[in-house]
């Protein structure tokens, strides 16, 4: 097939950021009128890839060819003008302005002479686009009053109004319900029929089977391969995304599981999760997985006192408790490693030592007065214990790599007297070397008698580390898997594949 057949082609794209290579010699080909799925684990490079296509980042190496012509984007508006639009999971919009304005901001329709805004024409055009997409709301509605699904439709309308020929959808169904996803499928197919090319990123296999004709897989910032959707099985796709046989990576020690530490009954928070119940024992590692937006982090944050649940009860060592703040949670012995280590876990402007002691300042002080000597000693001891690679506890945390930063957050957790540790995506954005170090830390913690809740989107991690796994989908638990039934298919099925969607179980003959 000659090059001009492709709507978009990327060759040899490489992009690095300080400390991490986000894309490593990546290839991609998109045909006109094709829905092309892009799959890969978190951190595989998909987001950076999209940012390169939409002009947010310029690649360090490689080239981009649009309709047979080489292009270079220096600003997102360049990509916009070239007919490329992206729709994200988290819609960035103007909540105080109407749908019409959100669609047309930056390219409003104006009268020739007076430059007056042509409201009637804009509302009509917006209404037309919305109708085409099957939306039921008026273009004069305020953006902030719409649901996430409706806002996404507006984003698509915006892309169409910019005459986009290539539309990228980044996990669009992550925050949608079943019905809303159906709507989105219909709209996407409509767009394809109109000749647009679509890159569809999703973790849900049902999305892929329903919409895509081709699928490309990235793994660890590299391009793995491209297949026709009806020619590759679930199993092989998973292997492509994950790469290696899971069991070898993780030294899962058999740990004696002790008494019940934490019990949760019927926990619910309006709009985020409902009917959440589970128990956690000493020495146990309970996995909590599901798609982004399934409600896992919200459950964790309720257990840590950040947001109080509306319903349900929490029992610690048999006694019912109410957790009203993170401080109280820690006093009960519950600790939390936050999902976003830079915004929630660390004070980036500070040194390692100060970060480590922040949650337990009482331990390094007497009657409120700080004991600097003691603080530095504790900081050093813990930093060394978790293996932080740094010269001194005075090194700024902002200058450390992702893996090292995460170790600092672990060290901070270890200063407190905890029984339960909730770890939210502990190896997100962490390189392989640091990852195995962190797994070892987690294993040691379980061995030392902590009860651990491990929230993760990475299959190998979940399967390799956990004794039991709870799977969430749209705010509820859909499965609780034991070690014996802990296979990738089982997890993915509970998390990603709906009950009545096609599952491709044909195996490719070796």
């Amino acid at each position: 097939m000659s090059d001009t057949e492709y709507a978009l082609e990327l060759k040899g794209i490489t992009k690095s950021f300080p400390g991490v290579k986000a894309l490593d010699d990546v290839y991609f080909k998109l045909r006109p009128g094709e829905i092309h799925a892009l799959m890969g684990e978190n951190g595989a490079g998909k987001s950076t890839f999209i940012k390169v296509i939409t002009g947010v980042h310029a690649p360090d190496e490689g080239e981009m060819i649009l309709n047979g012509r080489k292009v270079e984007f220096r600003h997102p508006t360049d990509a916009q003008k070239a007919g490329i639009a992206a729709i994200y999971q988290h819609v960035t919009c103007y909540p105080d302005l109407s749908v019409t304005e959100n669609i047309f901001m930056g390219h409003e329709k104006i009268a020739q002479g007076t430059k007056r805004i042509l409201w009637r024409e804009m509302h009509e055009e917006a209404g037309r686009l919305l109708k085409e997409l099957g939306a039921g709301f008026s273009p004069k509605t305020l953006m902030g009053a719409l649901s996430v699904a409706e806002q996404q439709i507006v984003e698509i309308a915006k892309a169409l109004s910019l005459d986009a020929k290539i539309i990228i959808m980044d996990e669009p169904t992550a925050a949608l319900t079943q019905n809303e996803s159906e709507e989105l499928y219909r709209i996407t197919e409509r767009l394809r029929d109109q000749g647009k090319s679509i890159i569809f990123i999703s973790h849900r296999f049902e999305d892929m089977y329903r919409l895509a004709s081709v699928v490309t897989v990235f793994r660890d910032s590299k391009y793995i391969g491209t297949w026709n959707v009806n020619e590759i099985s679930n199993h092989d796709l998973i292997i492509a995304m994950v790469g290696r046989e899971i069991s070898q990576l993780f030294p899962k020690k058999r740990v004696a599981v002790g008494e019940e530490l934490l019990r949760v009954e019927g926990l619910g928070l309006t709009g985020y999760y409902a009917d959440v119940s589970f128990t956690l024992r000493r020495g146990e590692i309970l996995g909590l997985t599901g798609l982004v937006g399934a409600g896992r982090t919200e459950v964790c944050q309720s257990l840590f006192g950040i947001t109080r649940p509306d319903k349900g009860r929490i029992f610690l060592k048999g006694k019912e408790i109410r957790i009203r703040s993170p401080r109280e949670a820690m006093r009960y012995g519950i600790g939390y490693l936050p999902e976003d280590r830079q915004k929630q876990g660390l004070v980036l402007q500070w040194a390692i030592g100060r970060n480590i002691t922040l949650s337990t300042l009482e331990k390094v002080s007497g009657k409120g007065m700080l004991h600097t000597r003691k603080e530095l000693d504790i900081a050093r001891t813990l930093a060394e214990k978790v293996g932080v690679k740094a010269g001194s506890v005075f090194d700024l945390v902002g200058s450390l790599s992702g893996g090292n930063q995460q170790k600092v957050v672990f060290a901070k957790l270890l200063t407190a007297d905890l029984d339960v540790m909730i770890l939210d995506e502990p190896t997100k954005g962490v390189d392989v070397g640091a990852k195995s170090a962190i797994y070892e830390i987690i294993g040691d913690l379980a061995g030392a008698g902590y009860g651990i809740v491990l929230v993760s989107s990475e299959m190998p991690e979940i399967i390799g580390m956990c004794d039991r796994v709870a799977v969430m989908r749209e705010g509820r638990f859909t499965a609780m898997l034991d070690r014996e039934g802990l296979t990738q298919e089982a997890i993915l099925e509970a998390a990603m594949v709906g009950a009545d969607s096609p599952v491709n179980s044909r195996r490719v003959e070796a």
Binding site: P326, G345, V347, L348, S359, T360
Partner: protein
Amino acid sequence: METRTITNRREFSWRSFILQWEWLLVALIAAVFVLNANLSEYFLDSRHLLDATMGFLDKAFIVLPMVFIILMGDIDISVASIVALSSVVMADLYQAGLPMEWAMAVCLAVGSLCGWINGMLIVRFKELSSVIVTLATMIIYRGIAYIILEDQAAGKFPKWFKFLGWEYVGNVPFILVAFAVCAAVFTYLLHKTTFGRKLYAIGNNPTASKFSGVEVDRIKVVVFTLAGLMSAVAALFLTSRMGSSRPNIASGYELEVIAMVVLGGVSTAGGKGRMAGAILAVFLIGYLRYGLGLVNISAQTLLIVLGLLLLFAVAVPRLNAGQRTVGRT
């Protein structure tokens, strides 16, 4: 897992020692002294210099908690109104027959209450910035002062009340002694206690602080209450100096106090700055005012100078770093 030794000793660097903001302030103070000595022969007299502090140190009490507030990334423009209200209430009650000691206690209580209200509003209504809340309370508190005293003055305090603002301990003005004590306490609080560490944490990253178990809300309420209390302390000294109280006293104090804090190197973005700098700035601005006053530069020209100083203090670090928090009024 490999073990690796990390040092917890900090190396001393001459360069970072010299390049501190506080040295710039020292240099500026020296410049001010030189300027004023040239302008007037009365300036460089140790007795006069000490006496001069009686004129500007009343505001300085407010500077101490304001450092905390700005370090956290907030602001309080109602402090001048709190000074006025506490003073007015005290004067009114005294005139109504309450013993002076009690009236002074009430003054402190009123100030603390006003500060507490500020804190509670800011913490309960996180949608509202500290700017708009303290803007509203600024008007309300002074408004109440006007309702109480209308446009009258209330005064005729007992003779011993003058001690606060006019008398000496040995050769040193009492107000300077009092300020030194307060400054020592606040400096200690900020730099040597867990409370101070938490303030810096909140200013740099309130989210991470919350996730680390720092009781952000409670600390904010405490800090704003402190600001109210110290405003009332300032009211005591100011009222003692003036000999009477009116609802329009302390006009413009919020500008000067904020100027002193910001000039002292405390960044309005939060999380950076030291108490020593603010204290130096107090004397810098105080003596600048005093010196210019000696040569009869009008109060209004002083206003211009002060406004420009404030802008200069904020602009210089900005031009270096070039960052700003969008969305905070």
